[in-house]
């Protein structure tokens, strides 16, 4: 049982190639604790970097090469991510839900024509996509969405409202679920659509939220409300067939429920908090003389280690093509709850200074600590609440039921 890759000479050669290429191409962008502080110019540099990665097939390295992905093994993709991580650059380097979520749904459920049409532009980074799922009346009970997409000739006519959508700088496409047959039973009444965002009748309005995450990788991002008023979209854009939208959504929801995190990134906040604790004083005495402080620090360190290992297990097993059941939701639950308990531990140890935002002189660790205090709260809800993760775990383990719930299809 190896917990680390042993690199072959071929893989090392690939890493060298990647390293040289990144050195030539990566934009130089300062560290912004709050991604919302990224300027438009900096954003465009990251966007352009993504396009160049896309040309190499490195934007979504494990997706099939025939559709514009890299066709790379998990090992090579990890090497790529590690090299990018040296520059604090996630993959993709800007907000896009296309290649890891929606694109996988198209790969699994789309016709050959749809795959050939949509996937290359997603995987090469020519377009960015938003995911449109949550509605004002449909949160945890996602299948109860009310937005309609009613067939009219060669088009669907879409009406309704989606919330908690996207990011700061727009997207060329969105993908969404909507009711195609209002008379059909629950779970059989939905369609899954690729929606060009430049169609007439679409209005985007920014929401006022506690945390504005901005455009760094898959960070929560600025969130918007999207209104659809008689938007006419070609029937070709419905993926998976009418009435199958819930099954199609099962694919990307499966990934979102705990299979998104890469195996590469550790949580950099831990070291920042440790550094603070090693140098800070209270009542003129070193903070670390307080046994309670040491206990609080090690407790959240251990939580973070467990989260890391559960994600690592999922990443490795998914890379081998093993069918995961409850494991994704379990890692996601640990991650969400771990962030909250860490936030409290940090607040205990640092006091109210943890709540001061950069660039104020009193902000800790350049503002990373305050961003985490906000982020820990906000991260409880995307991709299903902690309670929803528990529901998924229970169904997948078969607690109280002989037949276990099937995971969403990933291939």
């Amino acid at each position: 049982m190896d917990f680390e890759l042993e690199w072959t000479p071929e893989q090392d050669a690939f890493r060298k190639e990647v390293r040289a290429w990144i050195e030539q191409n990566v934009p130089d962008i300062p560290d912004h604790p709050d991604p919302a502080d990224l300027t438009r110019e900096e954003y465009e540099l990251q966007r352009e970097f993504g396009r160049r990665l896309g040309v190499k097939g490195w934007l979504y390295p494990t997706m099939p090469a025939e559709y514009g992905g890299g066709g790379l093994s998990m090992e090579l993709a990890m090497a790529l991510e590690e090299e990018l991580d040296r520059y604090n650059m996630p993959l993709p380097p800007y907000y896009d839900t296309g290649g890891k979520l929606g694109g996988v749904a198209i790969l699994v459920w789309g016709t050959e024509e749809q795959k050939a049409h949509f996937l290359p532009m997603i995987l090469r980074g020519e377009i960015r996509t938003w995911q449109l799922l949550t509605e004002p009346e449909s949160g945890s009970d996602l299948a109860s969405v009310r937005t309609t997409a009613i067939r009219d000739g060669d088009e669907y006519v879409v009406n309704g409202t989606k919330i908690f959508v996207g990011s700061s700088h727009g997207a060329e496409y969105s993908w969404m679920i909507a009711v195609t047959d209002p008379d059909a039973p629950r779970h059989e009444n939905l369609g899954w659509l690729m929606m060009p965002m430049d169609l007439p009748g679409i209005t985007v309005e920014q929401m006022d939220l506690l945390f504005v995450g901005g455009e760094r990788g898959a960070a929560s991002g600025i969130k918007n409300t999207v209104y659809f008023d008689n938007v006419r979209v070609p029937a070709f854009n419905l993926v998976g067939g009418e009435g199958n939208g819930w099954k199609v959504a099962g694919t990307h929801l499966e990934i979102e429920h705990g299979l998104l995190r890469s195996a590469v990134r550790d949580d950099p906040l831990t070291e920042r908090v440790f550094d603070y604790a090693r140098s800070a004083k209270r009542g003129g005495r070193p903070l670390l003389e307080d046994q309670d402080v040491r206990d609080r620090l090690v407790d959240f360190y251990i939580d973070a280690e467990v989260t890391r290992l559960l994600h690592f297990r999922n990443y490795a097993w998914r890379g081998q093509g093993r069918q995961l059941t409850y494991e994704g939701a379990q890692a996601y639950l640990y991650q969400k709850r771990g962030q909250l308990s860490k936030a409290r531990a940090v607040l205990d140890v640092m006091g109210p200074q943890a709540l001061v935002e950069a660039p104020d002189e009193w902000a800790v660790a350049g503002g990373h600590v305050e961003v985490h205090q906000r982020g820990a709260i906000v991260d409880q809800h995307p991709g299903g609440t902690a309670e929803i993760q528990r529901v998924i775990i229970a169904r997948r383990l078969g607690i109280g039921r002989e037949v276990r719930e099937e995971p969403g299809r990933l291939r």
Partner: protein, 375 residues
């Protein structure tokens, strides 16, 4: 990065599963727990498979296996949980002999541990309980050609089944040595403590005399080397607790499907589900930290913080999982023949063995350099 058992480990696992199905059924384990079957039951069968020699080098008749191999064996034993001196003898004493013993001592005892002809218990802790050097107060007085040991060792696992004791004692000043003491030597008296713990005993040493050859390694202080052995043994003990957690989880899952109240399986209630989800989370936290640190030990990576982390999670996880399992089972859970209380008792018994969860967490902090004055 496969995170799977290798072929050899799968064979090992299946060998021991067969043995447990044959010699350690739930009925047998309950009977041992009730005192109706002797605690040494199945010991010869276990020894005859060579499983106790997992960590003994091949030159001494063992399998020369890795820590991960031993983890496979002890995870399966923990599922029972199979009580008895397999851990004390096949892991703890074996590793102490490996780390602290000289060639003669290893050659004299390791082969006989593998065959089960000798059974070792490790007597470290005392009434002022603890697992650090300073907690060893029992004195070994120097005599001509040997030592005389007097005092009490407390909460020693499996002492009554042992042929030999490995006794930690002060040789001079702060120095702590480890002595091989025959369990039937004059002045040695072992008894099992009654109560919720299982298999823990008192060892009284009353003027017990041993020769120089009984002192592991021959030098006045073996504690630093013994700490390495404790660290390694702790990782294998965590694997045993992972096995216990796995069993508790499976019992609860099964019960959630078959037990009906309010005209439906109790597992349909989210309050019941939450208990079982907590158990599987404790299980996987303990499992993956344990597996990772066994791998670190096998590959010579720094493992100190990892061992203490896994031990903390395994000990507190096993304890809390049993509590949750009693919530799921209510009255049925405390009926001895149902089998859950085997785990409940074991989770309490092992809670402090080789250090409590809080102790281990603090050692993680030490290993991470979270100490004043270290920056």
């Amino acid at each position: 990065m496969d995170l799977l058992l290798n072929e050899q480990q799968r064979m090992l696992q299946s060998t021991i599963q067969d043995l447990l199905r044959r010699d350690f059924t739930k009925e047998t384990l309950v009977a041992i727990d009730a005192g109706d079957v002797d605690g040494s039951h199945g010991w010869p069968a276990l020894a005859s498979t060579g499983l106790l020699g997992s960590l003994v080098p091949e030159e001494h008749g063992g399998a020369g296996g890795s820590f991960s191999d031993a983890g496979v064996v002890f995870e399966e034993l923990g599922r029972g949980p199979v009580p008895g001196p397999h851990f004390s003898s096949g892991v703890f004493a074996t590793l102490a002999l490996r780390e602290c013993g000289n060639d003669e001592q290893q050659a004299a005892h390791l082969p006989r541990i593998v065959t089960g002809d000798e059974v070792f218990a490790v007597a470290v802790t005392e009434p002022e309980y603890g697992w650090e050097r300073g907690d060893v107060q029992l004195v070994a007085e120097r005599t001509s050609g040997g030592y005389t040991l007097s005092g009490v060792k407390l909460h020693v696992p499996d002492a009554v089944h042992a042929t030999h004791l490995l006794v930690a004692a002060r040789t001079a000043g702060e120095n702590v040595g480890l002595f091989i003491v025959s369990a039937d030597a004059p002045g040695v008296a072992c008894r099992t403590l009654r109560g919720l713990s299982t298999g823990l005993g008192e060892v009284r040493l009353d003027g017990v005399t041993v020769g120089d050859e009984a002192l592991l390694g021959g030098g006045p202080d073996a504690w630093d080397a013994f700490e390495r052995a404790m660290l390694q043994a702790t990782a294998v003990l965590s694997a045993y607790q992972v096995g216990g957690l796995e069993s508790v989880f499976q019992m609860c899952l099964e019960y959630s499907r078959t037990r009906r109240q309010f005209q439906q399986p109790i597992g349909r209630f989210q309050r019941v589900q939450d208990h079982i989800i907590d158990i599987v989370n404790h299980l996987d936290a303990a499992r993956w930290t344990t597996y990772e640190v066994l791998w670190k030990l096998d590959t010579g990576r720094p493992a100190e913080s990892g061992v203490h982390m896994a031990a903390a999670l395994a000990s507190e996880g096993y304890y809390l999982a049993c509590n949750a399992a009693h919530d799921v089972h209510a009255g049925v859970g405390i009926v001895r023949e149902y089998g859950l209380t085997l785990h409940t008792r074991m989770s309490r018994t092992l809670y402090h063995h080789l250090g409590s969860p809080r102790y281990h967490r603090r050692r993680v902090a030490d290993a991470l350099g979270l100490q004043p004055g270290l920056s």
